[in-house]
Symmetry: C2
Subunit: 419 residues, 2 copies
């Protein structure tokens, strides 16, 4: 499938992230107006909440867009998701007549002029560890290459519950956290600002349909509404001291930034690709009935305050060992109920090469090998650095993009308890 042409000319450019093939879901506001649901098309955002209110979009069970988040559409299921895309592709398609175009234009705003908000309400947030290279790299640093992968790693997608209240939209500043840390050569811990603050380059799966009880991998796939880019900010020094025996906690609770646009699974369909070859066979309930990863080129940029950005890593979502449907199926094995708005982070996506590692921990090999950026070097994030994730799928003559997932790190508070 090639480009689906739109009468919105900017949407037809090969490098545009938001062609008619994409139609990602976000929440935007203009000036003093209240946030509302919108869809990106070319250089514009289309106010789909306004379209629905005006009767120009009709969704079963609607109105579903009269709230400033996509959860109601997400909960409505795949037939509504498909109907939404079909109607939008009709009214934005090059065959739309001038009357329809005029109606749409009334609900369009230049992307450059709008503010973007959280696209959905996060119910619960789970973070997986589904990248083989990342797990191997981190394990090697901590336990040596022979014991790098935990014994369970090749048998199931290991994950932990994160903190939904920490999830913020791209563009939100991130305050360097305080935390309890203890270096191996110290007798006692201290409470201080994190000195090893980091990113994790991840893909986030957004659960649309709720479930009760265990679901198969195929059922899990049908529950997923779409994907976001996700940066799981991580304080490595806090993590090292706290994570045994119950896993990461405060090290991961400062912030998790997501892209402002949810790319629906239908837009990713042409880029479906298999997981890497299994090194050990999976138990039947975790096997994929068909390819469930996506070929999404990913990159991480780091820009110091006032300085140019350096791309510090390039990799691909196809590097994941477990797909989101596998993660979600595993998540339900014990009977755990899943809800509309649950967010599943993939875990850090690293490639096999040094320049394809999705965290500074890996790029600087635990801080021992600082890496070069324009005009300097980095081991971990420094104050006022801006970190940006980008992701895109390359179609024949078109691109599917997520928009930037970016955040600037502010210095730690001088006294976190000053009032």
């Amino acid at each position: 499938m090639g480009l689906i042409r739109s009468w919105v000319e900017s949407a037809n450019a090969a490098e545009c992230l938001f062609p008619l093939n994409n139609l990602p879901c976000g929440v935007f506001s203009t000036g003093e107006s209240a946030p509302r649901c919108g869809v990106a098309i070319g250089d514009f955002v289309l106010d789909v909440a306004g379209l629905e209110a005006a009767g120009l979009l009709e969704l079963d069970g609607g109105p579903l867009l009269d709230v400033p988040f996509w959860n109601e559409v997400m909960a409505a299921g795949p037939s509504v998701w498909a109907a939404l895309r079909a109607q939008l592709q009709l009214i934005l398609g090059e065959d739309a007549d001038e009357h329809v175009r005029d109606e749409c234009r009334f609900f369009m705003y230049e992307l450059a002029d709008v503010a973007l908000h959280m696209p959905f309400r996060v119910s619960e947030y789970t973070d997986f560890y589904a990248g083989r290279n990342h797990a191997f790299n981190v394990g090697t640093m901590f336990r040596g290459p022979e014991n790098a992968l935990p014994p369970n790693w090749l048998h199931m997608p290991i994950g932990y519950n994160g903190r939904a209240s920490s999830v913020v939209v791209s563009g939100s500043d991130v305050r360097r956290p305080w935390g309890q840390v203890k270096a191996p050569d110290q007798a006692l811990p201290v409470f201080q600002p994190s000195r090893r603050f980091d990113i994790e380059l991840e893909l986030g799966a957004v659960v649309g349909m709720a479930s009760e009880g265990p679901v198969t991998v195929a059922e899990a796939e049908a529950m997923i509404f779409g994907y976001v880019l996700l940066n799981d900010w991580s304080a490595r020094d806090i993590q090292a001291w706290e994570y045994q025996p119950l896993g990461p906690f405060q090290a991961k609770a400062t912030a998790t930034t997501i892209s402002p646009w949810i790319v629906m699974t239908a837009a990713l369909e042409p880029f479906r690709t298999p997981t890497p070859a299994r090194e050990l066979p999976l138990l039947p309930h975790l096997q994929e009935p068909r390819p469930m990863l996506y070929d999404i080129a990913l990159e991480v940029g780091l820009a110091p305050e006032g300085g140019p950005e350096t791309i510090i890593a390039r990799t691909n979502a196809a590097e994941l060992y477990y797909s989101a449907p596998q993660q979600l199926a595993h998540h339900t094995t014990s009977g755990c109920a899943m809800n509309t708005g649950d967010l599943l982070g993939s875990g850090t996506i690293s490639g096999p090469t040094k320049d394809s590692r999705g965290s500074l921990l890996e790029l600087s090999w635990g801080g021992k090998e600082p890496f070069a950026i324009a005009g300097g070097s980095r081991s971990f994030i420094e104050d006022h650095d801006t970190l940006t994730l980008r992701g895109q799928c390359q179609g024949a003559g078109y691109t599917i993009g997520f928009g930037e997932c970016t955040g600037k790190v502010l210095p730690a508070l001088a006294d976190p308890y000053a009032r």
Copy 2:
């Protein structure tokens, strides 16, 4: 302070769990009616939602009780919590005139006749590990007594994020989960029903007021609306295979049962008691400015299908090493936002003696020492067993109770994917 006498005679009995001193918050329904907020008094539940609607209760910012959960009252803060108690103690007090009594009687239902529902909407659920004896027992089983406590344990309240969607109210049946397990002597894992299904006797703190950024222990205490009994059902065989390196996940996601009544902190005030002596000094931000535990006698009962109940453990909430305000303060150190409806499990509360252990894992020492119950013995839970937690504070001539926190374990599904 002694008993506060009520004109509801059953509330004045020394052994009654719901005297006028208590006034715990629940959600109830009668017959076909919709669930609504109520407060327990003696043998009755008082329909406070109805009272507020009738203008007999007035809360700042109200109506706050026109929803079937306590979250709006919880979010309103300590002055509203105090006003609610003061008004109820007036209209239910022995000095209330006959007209007021008649108005109240119109809104009272016998406890024996009502169904109880989840008392609040759980935003996020965190489970701590704040019991010294439990951590020591489990650590001894896994690593020997020399390395029983993890190095960080005496320096901060270790915790992990649990799954809010798993929290259910007392009386809900619990289905034995399937999960991936691997015995040490097996080469490969298998997917099967849990054979080591267990309880954890815990106290749950219910967050009323939201926060952003780090809060002190004193501020944390003021945010807590009340406490519930909490049973963190745990599949030990699933846990053993999955928990490294990211902590418990599916082992804890089947169900977490809470008592139907939230006992407000004001009712627990007379039972305030200090944490045990610190074995190592805490960093300043985790120190308590005053005693913040409560003297709550706890017990666990186990009843096989059709058989009598055996009390398998008796302990006290004062055994905890870290109080809920300390847990909550630690939870916010990294800047983690807390919300109304967040639930903090204390971790298993075990006493120092064999008969005061709050989990079957400890009572049967990892299954190696089955313990006696009436007519049999147990290592872990068997199908159709009913497990019940109870808790009460003993005042001078009165009792503060939580009601039962109970659940019956149903057999695992024959095929969890059969549709």
